[in-house]
Symmetry: C2
Subunit: 289 residues, 2 copies
């Protein structure tokens, strides 16, 4: 297949990366996507660098074997911990979400001389300091405050987007950040856009939220056009989210993925298959169950 | 080594099973334990039966290879989904936590004729109906109400044992159960004993909480004495929780495990090693990182 007709690969530790898929789909309506959610080993945010690297590499190899033209690492934790290893091992262009998120935060800040940027993310992403470094590369003078918000992932998966408990937990997590008075707050985990309303209300209306997924979609679009990899022919007039032009794989529990995907995107994936993970080997396809 | 000098194997999806280890340690001070926490693949409670079975079997094979005299499946989800498979494949006595928990609930109920028993557990455990069946085997007339409480695990791991948000979430999860007016409420996940105070206050003082770990320790003690496998010589005068007579393994993130273990048990494990999980193969030892 001509290089620019090939699909774009996306992987995430689970269902959260669908927010990145949605952003890519909106920004690049001519492209097809293959999404892999590693639901057998989710979450990554509490695991070690060695383990996240291994999982990320196995996912990347599976997608590479499906004939993708480039790879998007939608998972913030995998982007923070495993991007150098993936780039080294996979002979494809690879985009993570941390760089685009960090650059976007600097771009939209109102204090150009001394941007004040907050980052909320998983434990592992915060410890890696990847957002701090990405932001500092974009602005040497930026002041950065990071905060791990471990309960946000289960709250988003439970779809508790308006519950008073979610507001109360958000108030606790964001108290120091609110005092820090950032211009921009990076949603440094793919689950967090689900809680956007709670986070915006808690941090205050003057703080701009940065959805790394949207920032990544912009950069992926630029990269495809720069490299001549973009598909210039519209694929179909009636292209929709989750239609049968996009292919979804999970490593476990396809039914649960489908249910949560419907909550996240308003529609479940039409083509969804379960595959098996075997450490060290290629991921293998298996019938759904 | 003489059979009754050999250690008892315990595995859990992660750190939660330490509540079962503590109960076993208290009940059986002459015994030594080998504990495996599958922290690279935690949690099990949102995963499919096929995947939980595979993980449980790999864990059991690893422990069997360390020369244990019997195996305790401390994880409720693995007990609910994988016990028959483990028993079939491992040539050892195997105790789960569901049977003992269910029997204990029937035993302590005040309504002997029609016990009313509540069960709180992970999604996967509830869907499996394993507690319902265990309770019904112990009392044909028992009325059972089950409720999945997915946020309790992350709340326990965060150690939010007194936070108002935890009380508020508990009130929401337990509302129907409170109306059901059970005699006894089974804590059907190893993490839940950490939230015992919140759960007791929420469900009311007249409901007896059943800690499956304690019930399991009693049954394991009976089994060891019945089979002549109990170690009758006191191992040492100064035996302590987490001392160097017990050996702990994790499949990832030993440092985090140690930290959470200290919160759960008051003391971190003295002997803790990280091993690697390779699907299909035996689990392999590796240097900690």
């Amino acid at each position: 297949m001509a290089d620019n007709k090939r699909p774009i690969g996306i992987f995430d530790s689970g269902v959260g990366g669908l927010t990145v898929y949605r952003a890519l789909h909106e920004r690049l309506p001519n492209e097809r996507f293959i999404y892999l959610g590693d639901t057998a080993r989710v979450p990554y945010g509490t695991k070690s660098m060695a383990t996240v690297e291994r999982y990320a590499l196995e996912n990347s190899e599976f997608l590479a074997s499906r004939g993708i033209k480039m790879l998007v690492v939608a998972c913030n934790t995998a982007s923070a911990l495993a991007l150098p290893t993936i780039r080294e091992k996979i002979g494809l262009d690879v985009a993570g979400v941390i760089g685009p998120g960090g650059r976007k935060a600097v771009e939209i800040t109102k204090n150009k001389e001394k941007p004040r940027i907050g980052v909320i993310a998983t434990e592992a992403t915060v410890i890696s300091n990847a957002y701090f470094e990405a932001i500092r590369r974009a602005s040497e003078t930026a002041e950065v405050m990071q905060k791990g918000c471990p309960l946000f992932v289960p709250l988003a998966e439970e779809n508790w987007t308006r519950e008073p408990e979610t507001f109360s937990i958000a108030a606790k997590y964001l108290a120091d950040l609110k005092e820090f008075r950032p211009d921009a707050l990076v949603l440094g985990c793919t689950h967090y856009p689900i809680l956007k309303d709670v986070i915006q209300q808690t941090i205050g209306p003057d703080v701009k939220l940065v959805d790394s997924g949207e920032a990544t979609a912009d950069e992926v679009a630029d990269l495809l056009f720069d490299k001549g990899l973009a598909n210039l022919e519209p694929v179909t007039a009636s292209r929709r989210l989750c239609d049968d032009m996009d292919h979804f794989y999970v490593t476990d529990a396809a039914e649960r993925f489908s249910r949560v995907a419907e909550r996240f995107l308003g529609i479940p994936p039409k083509r969804l298959e379960a595959i098996e993970v075997y450490g060290g080997d290629e991921l293998r396809q298996k019938p759904d169950r």
